[in-house]
Amino acid sequence: MFLRKIVPFFQITQIKLTFDNGGKSHHTKTMPTLTLERSKQKRRPAVVEDYDVAADAKKRISLRNAKTKYFHVKAFSNGCFLLEPRVLVSPEAISARSLKMLDKSVANLKKGLVSAPIDLSAFAEA
């Protein structure tokens, strides 16, 4: 509304508002993970199975034909549960902590700031 007061309408129509709705802002191109790309869904997911289940004595229910091992669970106040499939990050991926360490080390190395050579001779037998 504020924009309309100072910018003519024909200019407003030319403004392209872009914001990331891909949900993968945490991804870096340089360090890809095995995380699957979120596909652009043109159609709503179809219902492939529809069944009733009873919780067991420990209040657990079983999923039939689950495609993934891990799920993110959201429990709603009305008693509904929403499950979203998840995958583990590749073991080849580097943890954030190690990556931070690498950033600092490489910066030091490029400046020539490294330690003196370490002496391994005392532990050659170890």
Binding site: H26, S39, K67, L88, V89, I94, A126
Partner: protein, 130 residues
């Protein structure tokens, strides 16, 4: 030795000094002893021959592209699914190798595994229908 091994961070140098001093004093606990033995062995191989079979050294292209210098990864142990890793690069001088990072062991399935789980895609409508 063919190469001088240098540490890229003061913290890593401090860790090395601490471990090596306590090793000589016989004050390392069992886990530290185990880790130090692997580290010394790996650094020894790295100093002798960075391409030693036991190290399984290989360049990490993504990191090379990111930093603009060749970054290599070597393993601290063999035949272990969650083996510790060393990241290193040649330099700053000729016959120098700088250890950039040491990852003693990636977090296993029990410790912090859920923190590493990222959202995957919902199967597409097409595959669901099949």
């Amino acid at each position: 030795m063919a190469f001088n091994i240098r540490m890229g961070l003061p913290e890593m140098e401090a860790l090395w000094i601490d471990l090596s001093t306590r090793k000589q004093q016989g004050k390392l606990d069992r886990d530290e002893e185990k880790f130090f033995k692997k580290l010394v062995k790996a650094l020894g191989y790295l100093a002798e021959n960075p391409r030693h079979n036991s190290l399984a050294s290989h360049e990490i292209d993504d990191l090379t592209r990111k930093y603009g210098i060749k970054v290599f990864q070597s393993y601290l142990e063999n035949r272990t699914p969650a083996a510790g890793r060393i990241f290193w690069a040649y330099g700053p001088d000729k016959r120098d190798i700088t250890v950039l990072a040491i990852e003693p062991h990636p977090e296993d399935q029990k410790r912090g595994a859920y923190q590493r789980i990222k959202l995957s895609a919902l199967p597409s409508a097409k595959t669901q229908a099949e």
